[in-house]
Amino acid sequence: MTTADPLLKVHDLITAFDTDAGLIRAVDRVSFEVPHGKTVGIVGESGCGKSVTAMSVLRLLPQPMGKVLQGRVEFKGRDLLKASDAEMRKVRGNEIGVIFQEPMTALNPVHRIGRQLSECFLLHKKMSRKQAWEASIEMLRKVRIPAPELRMGDYPHQLSGGMRQRVVIAMALACGPDLVIADEPTTALDVTVQAQILDLMKQLQAEMGMSIVLITHDLGVIAETCDEVVVMYAGRVVERAPVKQLFTKPMHAYTRGLLASIPTSATPPKSVLPTIPGMVAGLADLVPGCRFCQRMGRGGGILRERPEFEEVAPDHWVETCPNCFEDLS
């Protein structure tokens, strides 16, 4: 860690789900930090635990199945896991904003935009209705929605996907949060609209100075928007580094495999793409040891003993499994 304390510090988090097959760990001792004013990307394939990590931070796990078994979530110096439900309600939407993947489900279809947006101000900022209404219009203007006074009277279905996501962003940022958690914010959008939304988030960050946790499966989005990257595989962080470092010196075999398997502008057309063989084991079948070795079909002691997660270069952390780790520093 460098100079100041980070805004968010997730330490040794374990989140499990109570299923018919027993207690299954979806997040298995995950640690990472989010510095002030920075964007941290969490990348991984479906089921790797990236969304569950975010929902654990927000204490929005599905109840009663989801449980945090261990760990600390330090936000501005206090542990959110120990906060009461009433305290958490003050944190969510006020100090931490959330942007979900599907703007249509994040918005209430039977209320007008204006009412949904004003609600944030009424709940957290003790404003009068009139003040909240004015502040909402200002917020819509901030996310570059044309003719915001008119849009206040619209229902969500009257807006396009890109406009809806702008409204969701406006709601997330309404109370001037210190942290925004964006869970696949552009996955449901087209590329040209995705580019608009990512640019908008960058501009707003420059204006308002909040930190962002961006959850995505798209390494292109990570490369364009993040300062630091957390790579998750099967419920664990396998690598964590500043973005340039991660793309130039990926030290874990899984990160290298992911980066190699996407065609870039330099890949010869129609050539055979490098692949990661096999697939992720089911959550119930995961071994305690190195899970990427499990996927690669390796055996032996490495499947029993969990590899250390170490800082091998400044701010560059890797799970140092003897098979998967290659020291490039």
Partner: protein, 335 residues
């Protein structure tokens, strides 16, 4: 070269009903005058944003949707008006792979039944031969032998897509329409399925119409790329050419918005405001010119903006709003 598939001025319109007595309010012009060719062994990539009509076009080609106007020639035969019965032999050669590998496989059928079904419908071989063929196909798409007697839910997304591909190639087709075949898959599995599609093409000489919104994937698999915007093609060119030297303003904007997985690359982005207009009520002139509020938009109102060959093999819509001055002069001279 003789085209395997040749589409001319294809239109697919959907009526929109509403109001108290469900009278027709208008039409959605999902595909509005598209012409294109696919050569044997070629992959034509079809890109565009959601709602541009690319999937509708794919479905109209395999006649899952009835075109309103225009013609589809397949292997030298006009299949636009062919009856269901006379279409059956054509279906052997014209298959489809769907986006969602869960929805497109019957959950109550075993993998063997799923892959065998086209063989039974087309009366191919006896039971023993079909059995052998299914085993061969499973092996071909990289699934274990034991997979035949399992059910779709027992497989991961990537494996289910392999089952869908095995079914599509069961009858040795000539053209496979792939509608977003890897969009639902994770990155590491996506490259496996793309490699399989490329390998099958090499070995079996397949042609693909590869529909996708993922421009990086399309670039990797395609020989030629067609860009679609609001029901019309705006640019068609060899893949390497279109990515290096796009001419249409929409293609340029689209290409510049792909996030490149390399943080050291900071490419200038073509800023694009607004959204795709609705195909229910499209602008009267150049659809993209309308979106970018181009000063020459008024010139295009009510005009056809036909694809014009600007360089050998490179076609672009003759649209003054979307071309450079120089290209517009070339295009006007050509038409």
């Amino acid at each position: 070269m003789q085209s395997l598939l040749s589409i001319r001025d294809l239109k697919v319109h959907f009526p929109v009903h509403g109001g108290l007595f469900l009278k027709q309010l208008g039409t959605i012009r999902a595909v509005d005058g598209v012409s294109l060719d696919i050569a044997p062994g070629e992959t034509l990539g079809l890109v565009g944003e959601s709602g541009c009509g690319k999937s509708t076009l794919g479905k109209a080609i395999v006649r899952l949707l009835e075109p309103n106007q225009g013609s589809v020639q397949f292997d030298g035969r006009d299949i636009t008006k062919a009856s269901r019965r006379s279409l059956q032999p054509v279906r052997r050669d014209l298959q489809m792979v769907f986006q969602d590998p869960v929805e497109s496989l019957n959950a109550r059928h075993s993998v063997r039944e799923i892959i065998e079904e086209p063989l039974i419908i087309h009366r191919t071989g006896n039971a023993a031969e079909r059995r052998k063929r299914v085993d061969h196909l499973l092996d071909r798409v990289g699934l274990p032998k034991g997979a035949a007697d399992k059910y779709p839910f027992e497989f991961s997304g990537g494996q289910r897509q392999r089952i869908g591909i095995a079914r599509a190639i069961a009858l040795d087709p000539k053209l496979v329409v792939c509608d977003e075949p890897v969009s639902a898959l994770d990155v590491s599995v996506r490259s496996q399925v793309l490699n399989l599609l490329l390998e099958l093409q090499r070995d079996l000489g397949l042609s693909y119409l590869f529909i996708s919104h993922d421009l990086a994937v399309v670039k990797h698999v395609s020989d030629r790329v067609a860009v679609m915007y609001l029901g019309k093609l705006v640019e068609v060119a060899p893949a390497a050419k279109i990515y290096r030297d796009p001419r249409h303003a929409y293609t340029k904007a689209l290409l510049s918005s792909i996030p490149e997985p390399d943080p050291s690359v900071q490419r200038p982005r073509v800023k694009l405001e607004g959204d795709v207009p609705s195909p229910f009520n499209p602008p009267a002139g150049s659809a993209f010119g309308h979106r970018i509020k181009h000063p020459r938009y008024d010139e295009t109102v009510g005009k056809e903006l036909p694809l014009t060959e600007i360089e050998p093999g490179h076609w672009v819509a003759a649209d003054p709003c979307c071309l450079s001055e120089e290209d517009w002069r070339k295009v006007s001279a050509a038409s």
